[in-house]
């Protein structure tokens, strides 16, 4: 339960959500992560620390590198926000169905 707050705090930052989206494509080192984000390595490391403490990502040691990958809860969090966007869009298009039904109904009415 304590982890729930950490999860939301971690996800509250757009850069951290974007890092999760990048890691969804596979493991990456700090250097690889820093590149597309045009941020310094220390700044990225700070974000990674927050994500790791929230249990969203895990790291392993490979020589001097520590590649990160998504943890199970990180995958769930990503799935969840895509599902959220999906739901918001579905809500829009369900409403559009109704708007279209009214438009088509009017057209038929005029033809009479």
């Amino acid at each position: 339960m304590d982890n729930l707050d950490a999860t939301f705090a971690a996800l509250a930052d757009p850069t951290r959500r974007a890092i999760l989206a990048r890691l969804a494509k596979g493991e990456a080192t700090v250097l690889q992560l820093a590149k597309p984000f045009s941020m310094t390595q220390p700044a990225i490391s700070q974000h990674l620390k927050v994500l790791e403490e929230a249990g969203l990502i895990v790291s392993r040691v490979e020589g001097a590198k520590r590649p990160r990958r998504l943890a199970k809860s990180g995958i769930d969090a990503l799935d969840q926000w895509l599902a959220m966007l999906h739901r918001a869009m579905e809500r829009n298009y369900d409403r559009l169905d109704e708007v279209l039904a009214v438009m088509e109904g009017k057209k038929k009415g005029e033809g009479r």
Partner: protein
Amino acid sequence: MSKLTLKTEGDTHVVCTRRFTAPPEAVYRAHLEPALIQKWLLGPDGWTMPVCLIEAKPGGKFRYEWKNAAKGQQFYLTGELLELQPYSKIVHVERMFLPEQTPDNHVETTFEPNGNGTLMTIRMTLPDEKTRGAMLSTGMQRGMEASYVRLEGMI
């Protein structure tokens, strides 16, 4: 039953498809006429669109403003129409102000006759991978409450 598909493509694209049981002309109009847009382009429950301005011509500008009265929140979006092919294609560029400005999202929407209805395909192109990740996550920001409930149910 979900008729909507939403997927990422390459590093910078998001592609969405949806079928409608109305002809392309109606679906196309519902994307360009303010009185129609204000009825459906609202996102999660609780949001309204008090301002919807569109110059429906190539090069025309548009501005949408959303408001959630209960939460005291609001944000807006501006954009330009780049190409209009009645009733088959709309190409535009848009960005949100939350209030900080998001990078431009280039959007190509096509409307094809499909059986007794229309297949709509939206292809979004973001400037880079980071931007796409951030954009996909805005669904999360606005659905935070629902998310909380869902997470609690999972744990």
